[in-house]
Every structure is written in C-alpha cells, then in structure tokens.
Symmetry: C2
Subunit: 375 residues, 2 copies
C-alpha cells in the first residue's frame, strides 16, 4: 500500500476516519432535529463522499454548480437540488438533464426570473424551490415579500412543480458567540416557515422547508415544520469551524501535504512548497481574532497530529508558504524534505485548488478520489 | 463562429489582442534593458501563450511547478527553468525529464539542499541556478552569504552544471511609489550581480544573471551584467498591476464572464453567478487604498468596456458575487441574464480557478486554450 512518502507535494489529503465520523455526527444532528439531511456537496464535490453520506442516512444531495448536478446525475444520484436561484439562461442545462430522466430542483427568487425560466423551459416540466432571504441579504425573497406568491403563481401556471422553500443562513458565519448562532438558527427556521405559511394559505404546495449552513445546524433546536438540512463543510471541517465551535480541531479531515524546502533560523521561519495556489487565499480565521487567527493555515505533522507550539503559514506566495511561530522553531524536527500537513482556514476553497483527494488513514494512502471542479 | 452568448457562466475569457499587445510591450522592455526575456508561465500555464511569447522574441520559459515543466517539455519546449529552490525529494521528477532528453534548470538555495540533490541525482548530470535573496526574505541566500560558495562547490563537485543566479523581487509589490519600485529594481540587480561577482572570483561559471517580477521589470534601468528577465503577470495584467502603474486598465486581458441572476434596487446591489471560486479570494487591490481597492473585482460590460460609474464585487460567496457601487446602479442596463466581465485583482489565482480560456476578440470566441493547473 502506498504511503505519504510516495506522493509529490503539494497534494490534498483526506482522512477517511475523520470524514466518516463527521458524516455520522451531522446525520445524528439531523436525526435529533427530525429533518432529512440533504448534504451539500459544494465542499467535497466527490461521488465517493456522496456515497458515504448516503450510507450514513442522507436523503438526496445539494449541489452548488450545474456541473456538479451533471456529474452526480451521471453517477446515479437522481435526487438533486441545485441551491442557486437561476435565470432563463441556466435552463438549457436543466432541460438536458430532464431529457436524460433526471429532474434537478433549482431555486427561483424573483418574478422576473420565474417568467424567464417558464419561457425557457417550454413544455418540459421542471421542479423549483423558492429561495427565502432569512437575513443574509445575498439572494432570496423576504418571507413577507408580495413577490413570493407571484413567483409561486408563475411557476405553477407554467406547468412546473413547486417543491418548497429554502434559505441559507450565511450570516451565521458572522456572529461570534453561541447564543447569537442559536438566534440565527431560529431566524433561519422562522423565515422559511413564515414563507411556507403564506404559500399554503394561498393554496400552493410547499412540501420541503429547507435550512442550510453548518454553524446554524449545530446550534439549531427542533422546530416542527422544518423538513430538511443542507449543511456541507461539516464533512471535512476546518480551522474556522473549529474556531466557532462547530467541531474540534481533531475533526478536521482535509489538509495539504507539503515539503519543507528551506530553513531560516535567523528569521525563525520555514519555507514549504505549498503556497496560495495549494492552500487558497481564504483567511476566514482572520475574523476570529488573536489566538484563533491561523494565518493561511496551521501545521500538523506527517501523521496528522497538531504541531505544538503552533506553527502557522504566515505568508502565502503562489507556490511557497512561509511558516513561522510565536515560539522558537525546533529546527531539529524539520530536516529539508520533511513532510507536514497544513490544516485549512476554509475547507471549500482549499479543496477546490486540487483535482483529487489522496485518502489516508495515518500515513497509508488507501484510495484516490476525484473531484468535480469548475462549471 | 461562437459568441459569448454560447458560453455557460462563470468562465474565463482571454482577450487575444490585449494579450498579444502585452507580450510585445514586455519584449520591448527586455530589449531596451538588453536582456533575454524568459517569461514566467505561472500565470498563463498555457502552451498557446508560450508559443505567442516565443514568437514575440522570448528565449526559453520559466515555470512554477514541476507539472508545468512536464507539460511544456511534452509540447516541445526544451529550455525550461523551474524557478523554485528544490530539495532531494523533488529530484526524481527532474531525473525523469532528463531521461526523456529535457534538462530543466532548477533552483538551489542552501548547502543542505545541495547535498540532497547531489545524492538524489546520482550519476545523472542536472543543471542548477543558485537563488539569491534580494530583500524579499522568502527563499534564497543573501549575496554575501558564506554558504553561496559552498552551494556552488557542492553542485559542481557532484557533476552538475551551475548555470547562474536568480532572484525574485517580490517586495516590489509592497512599495507604493515609482521611485521606491525603481529602488527595488536596482536592489534586485545589485544582489544578483554581487553574487555573480563572488562566484566568478572563486572560479565558478555564472552565465545567467536573472531578475523577476513585473513591477520591477517595468521600472528597471539597463545594468551591464544582468542577462535575463523573468516576469509573468504582465502577459494578462490585472487591477493590482494597473493600480501600481505597470500597465493601463485597458490592457487587462483576462476576465471572468458572469451572468446577472438577481437585482436588489432596495440595497443597490446585483447578484452575479461568479463568486469566490470563479474570481478567487485574492484581494491584492485592498493594499492600494480607497479609489483603487476593487473589492473582489471590477465590472466591465459584455464587450470588455469598463462600466462607469464603477461597479465592484463587494462580497464573494462560493458561487455568488454581490455587486455594488458608490452611485445608484442603472438597473435598466442589467436585465436578469445580462452578461458582465469581472476584471481580477490578481490574474494568477483567478486564472488558476479555471481549466481553460475562452479566447475572445470582442464578443467572438475564436479559440479554446487549456491550462495546466495543479502539481
């Protein structure tokens, strides 16, 4: 069996045991909330991860791009939700999927968009959910927006199925204490339930009531009427999620394997061959303040154990990472050629920098899984 | 001939006329400086761009990854420099290339690394350049470091060719006025020339004296003894380089084509279907201050003309970009489904988010060129 020594760096590692544990933990949260888990594959973009999530109890998948929809459909996943509100230009790829027998639900969040998709779909019935803005102010209609009923009317009059409502509490990432995250989770649930109540009162079907976001999921309480949870990053975890308490540091399943290529004891630095392209420029932990700000990533050793005192990637050049520490670096641990794992600020963009996972248990490489990047 | 209307969004556009103009301009700078231009393909990662650069007068290519080296070698480019200082673990891929008849020069910047590469190379002669630190404090040896001669001795005693010295003035990105950039360019030239003088005095060959970085290149004056220039980002240009005066806004050759998917006049925002994954999270222009800070990108219209008053991507979610402006947005210009081009902060990471270029002149798509991402 190959080991880490057989890999060229930088490359993306995925710890299988941690992944399986993370999948089980979120499934247990969904079970406790009494909702279906429709995991968001925007992070993993992997059919192997999707299969493990379904084996753990997930019902259907959420995707972030039409390319993901096409990829998962091609691998036999036929219950898909594209959690982006679309316009007429996006309909041809949905029609292509529908003609192959796969109806991918998509979002709609304005009357203008509803008119476009109805016109573009022609006689082919599609399935839609209406996006609700629960406070993030990204996409979606407010739960009390008059346009909500107009969208429902346009879609159903056009011969399409209205499957329900969904929202994304992206602002759960912006609050810094547990009580505030609980409040966001309640706000999220209340928004979709209020929207559903208006739709049902007006005579529309609204079977699915769907909430998203890992921080709000782990801080939610059961509320009758909410039917679905769409978290994604929990599958891998990262330094930001650990920083806000969504999981522990020991749960982070993805990392970037890198090689030490230079030592500068005069500056208390190391140089590794993983830079901004392998790690991403995401600095999510910068918002968490001193003590939790991990620069461009925190170092673990080759086996995945956190290095103490902590080492951080302080600067990320295109293909170089400059590592430093608040304490003197123990250079005896790092001969040139030594391997380290860099834990990411934010699992999604770091994983997106790579085309595949080297799946590991300890130092053994047990599998190689592809990713479906791009659009 | 296909047009932008035939493309799914988001996708990466490359304006061929601007690219050709940018290549010619840097070649003219190299000619004026009396040095060979060995363009860095870390930005473009494209054999088509490399061919155009060579047609414009470039001598050899610089690459940032061994995968690029393998890719360009496979396309018939046999004069390559991997501008990263390596350790023993990186040697097997160089040996593989050497066995196929392509010697890729690589960097070395410590005696420990020199010992490792000599041991790993065995009896196969390779070619190296010694990396010099001209003030960036990333990699490289100071021009006066005693270790410099030790590295030269180890490499040549191991049977390898010492081709010269190189440096990268990455700190040219950190200074904010023309005189300071000129000073960095002088510092860069002085550092490699001082290192060369020591090597030559000690009896070593040092044919190549190579400088890098687009901002220092456009601000350099001719200095006898410098033989090579290795800039890269000039090929495409970006908002950061325009902000520091390396070129004009009208020279930016890459952009991300996106579709307007939502309008929020109540918040003076637009939502587009290009977010952090399509644009990257690079915020290089943030360091340029008000007036030049372009958020996550500045919008041009479908034909490539800058939109005035300016529209910027203020927030970059994974697959959504939230666009806003200091002035009221003219919503009549943006029906849902309208197309815009987002100019990048930093061309390198934005291009790296995509697997190919749609090469355009105006709204016509004249070619599709692949990129060699990853490692």
């Amino acid at each position: 069996m190959p080991t880490l020594d057989d890999l060229s760096t930088p490359c993306l590692l995925l710890d299988r045991d941690r992944l399986v544990r993370n999948l089980a933990r979120m499934q247990a949260i969904a079970d406790r909330l009494g909702v279906a888990l429709r995991p968001h594959l925007k992070t993993a973009k992997s059919v192997e991860v999707a299969r493990l999530a379904v084996a753990a109890g997930a019902k259907g998948l959420t995707v972030s791009t039409l390319k993901e929809a096409e990829y998962f459909a091609g691998h036999g996943f036929h219950d898909l939700f594209y959690a982006v509100s679309i316009v007429g230009r996006h309909v041809p790829r949905l029609l292509q999927l529908a003609r192959s027998g796969v109806v991918v639900q998509a979002g709609v969040d304005s009357a203008e968009a509803a008119r476009q998709v109805v016109a573009a779909a022609g006689a082919t019935p599609l399935a839609f959910r209406i996006e609700i803005d629960c406070g993030e102010a990204r996409g979606g209609l407010g739960p009390d927006a008059p346009e909500l009923l107009e969208v429902a009317r346009l879609l159903t009059a056009g011969g399409h199925r209205l499957m329900g409502v969904f929202t994304h509490a992206g602002h759960s990432y912006d609050v810094r204490d547990v009580e505030s995250r609980r409040a966001v989770a309640r706000q999220e649930q209340a928004a979709v339930l209020a929207a559903k109540a208006r739709l049902v009162a007006a005579g529309f079907a609204c079977e699915t009531v769907s909430c998203g976001s890992t921080p709000s999921a782990v801080n939610a309480e059961p509320v009758p009427g909410v039917t679905e949870l769409r978290a994604g990053v929990y599958q891998f975890g990262d330094l930001f999620q650990a920083g806000v308490g969504s999981h522990g540091l020991e749960d982070i399943a993805v990392s970037v394997l890198a090689t030490v290529i230079r030592k500068r004891p005069d500056k208390n630095t190391l140089l590794i061959d993983a830079g901004a392209f392998a790690l991403s420029k995401d600095r999510a932990t910068a918002t968490l303040g001193p003590g939790l700000d991990a620069g461009f990533g925190r170092l673990a050793d080759e086996s995945g154990a956190l290095i103490e005192p902590p080492l951080y990637v302080k600067h990320a050049y295109q293909e170089h990472g400059l590592v430093t520490s608040a304490s003197p670096i123990d250079y005896h641990r790092f001969p040139l050629g030594a391997r380290v794992r860099v834990l990411p600020n934010h699992a999604c963009p770091t994983a997106a920098a790579h085309d595949r996972y080297r799946v590991v248990t300890g130092k053994s490489v047990v599998a190689e899984w592809e990713r479906v990047n791009g659009w």
